[in-house]
Symmetry: C2
Subunit: 338 residues, 2 copies
């Protein structure tokens, strides 16, 4: 079973394998620098459905289906799953996954969902209480914009610090088999609140949570930044990434040369009008499952620390003057099992 | 570690103990038949805060604080926790729990949240990857009404099948110690959808999920209804409870003589104007923590099967004509560890 070495950090005993994984994205994401890495690019924002919300459910459904088929599995072979998304009451997950007939734990971690689901699936698989356990998440630009900000038809002008919610989904299936990529350790985050209240600057709100979890992971495991090919954050974007590097420098941790942010990787900021970068549960979910996991499987990358980051606010909370608390969980993924 | 005996069901190896627990409720709940069982009854719907949402966060904070102090613990002794609620983006949990400084996994299971959190906390504690693990949830009539239905000031007339979201919160802390109440087994539910589309009749929408999980638990464990002092559902209310009993009778399972529903127990339906009964994450959470756990600890009750039930819809989904899928997880709680 996983060994708890601190309040936050668990080292896996058998290092569960990410048996299979898949990423499906929308048109803009497919046209970005990572386009060729995704399993499927869908040009129809509705994914063949009548509403964006139903489209997002369809996106998540396709992604899990793809991960299952890439792993030569059937839905009946998945023991249970963790799933969550950004929409109120996590309806993308509910309607997207209900027909799989797989026992499910709903989770909510905003854009940290892929880290959270992967952490829980890994802990349970490593402790012998999983067989094949899936973790799934998604986000959709159109459903998120109208829920969190303005209806798209309103044509609101976005601030320079605003990020672009990715239309994207990622799914992983964990198993106890011996094949890379392996999950070696996880650090569970806590809610961090530095008092940022600007809902158009979520990168800044989330940077302290990433700082906390990266620092805690490194201290708990006595590993150093240079042990990792990349320290990967979810969707801090340009503003949040700069802040993260500065915050960690204050702690004498320099990640400037090997930090990557999925939100910055997803788009070509010069030629795609996304302001500070991509965001959304599906951003880090799809970049992990589309880009990183293949490279870890092949050995091109040896070790990454994957830290999806979530801003835990709601429009109601923002309207009531609340700050934006955030969270991030760290997952150490490696080509080697020990 | 917990033994997986089927796709859905785990039998605990060491039967983790519910180390401590607490329930805090609002005025109407305090005036109901169970009023004397709760740790605290607050007459102010705002819980001393400026908005109902902030009040619900305060409610959840007080409940976890109470569970921690009843267990003679400090927040620093809680290893991590599972928390969720009904509000969009689970803000009651975020703002209510952020100052505890405890690592957290956010969960979303609508009104099934107490079953879900208790299941996960039990599985992880029993498998040696917990120390002290908390599970917390809440709901609030005023914040839920205006989010899911109408602003209270609108004065909408409620249908006879409608239920009353309880202003209530429950918190449990699991540990590996040897003292009742014990968690003996859990059955993870799946999403069940019988096509009910009436958001004012959620009991009917949730009854099939409770049917599924109760039937699966009994079949998987080869236990019978008579092994339990009570088979407890979360918030099916009057309509859903009648339906549950009928649906199980079709499967040759008769729970009519020992079924209890927290939503029906919470209020005096004759004298409190709550229509079909109580509902909300905090309904089953507070009835479990206020009423049942003391009776199991003392031995007055030997065994219960606790099945909180959640309707996974959102107003957006309902407006788009979607049905109401639902879920329930079953937790076998006992005075005996084996």
């Amino acid at each position: 079973m996983a060994k708890k070495i601190s309040r936050n950090t668990f080292i896996m005993e058998h290092s569960p394998s990410i048996h299979s994984y898949a990423a499906v994205v929308g048109k803009l994401e497919g046209a970005g620098p990572l386009g060729k890495y995704f399993d499927e690019v869908e040009n129809d924002a509705y994914f063949g459905q009548k509403t964006w919300e139903k489209g997002e459910s369809e996106l998540m459904k396709r992604t899990l289906k793809k991960a299952i088929s890439k792993g030569s599995l059937s839905p009946a072979e998945i023991d249970y799953m963790f799933a969550g998304d950004l929409l109120n009451q996590c309806i993308s997950s509910t309607y997207g996954l209900k027909d799989f007939d797989i026992p499910i734990f709903g989770i909510y971690g905003a854009c940290s969902t892929m880290s959270e689901g992967l952490s829980l699936a890994s802990l349970m698989t490593d402790s012998g209480i999983g067989g094949k356990v899936a973790a799934v998440t998604s986000s959709h630009f159109c459903s998120a914009e109208r829920q969190f900000r303005f209806p798209l038809s309103y044509g609101g002008v976005r601030t320079p610090t605003a990020q672009w919610t990715c239309t994207a989904s990622g799914a992983v299936i964990l198993s106890a088999k011996a094949a890379p990529p392996y999950v070696r350790a996880v650090t569970i985050g806590k809610i961090v609140d530095f008092g940022v209240t600007d809902a158009n600057n979520m990168g800044a709100a989330m940077a302290p949570a990433a700082t906390y979890v990266i620092q805690t992971f490194l201290e708990d495991t006595a590993m150093s930044v240079s042990d990792f090919d990349a320290i990967v954050t979810g969707d801090l974007g340009l503003v949040g990434s700069r802040l993260l590097i500065k915050l960690l420098q204050h702690e004498n941790i320099d990640i400037s040369s090997n930090h990557l942010d999925c939100g910055l990787m997803m788009f070509d900021r010069e030629n795609q009008d996304v302001h500070a970068g991509g965001s959304g549960c599906g951003c880090s979910g799809s970049v992990l499952c589309g880009y990183f996991l293949d490279k870890i499987r092949s050995g091109e990358l040896k070790n990454i620390l994957f830290c999806a980051t979530g801003a835990l606010m709601s429009p109601t909370a923002s309207q009531q003057g609340e700050s934006i608390p955030s969270i991030s969980h760290a997952v150490f993924i490696s080509n080697q099992s020990h």
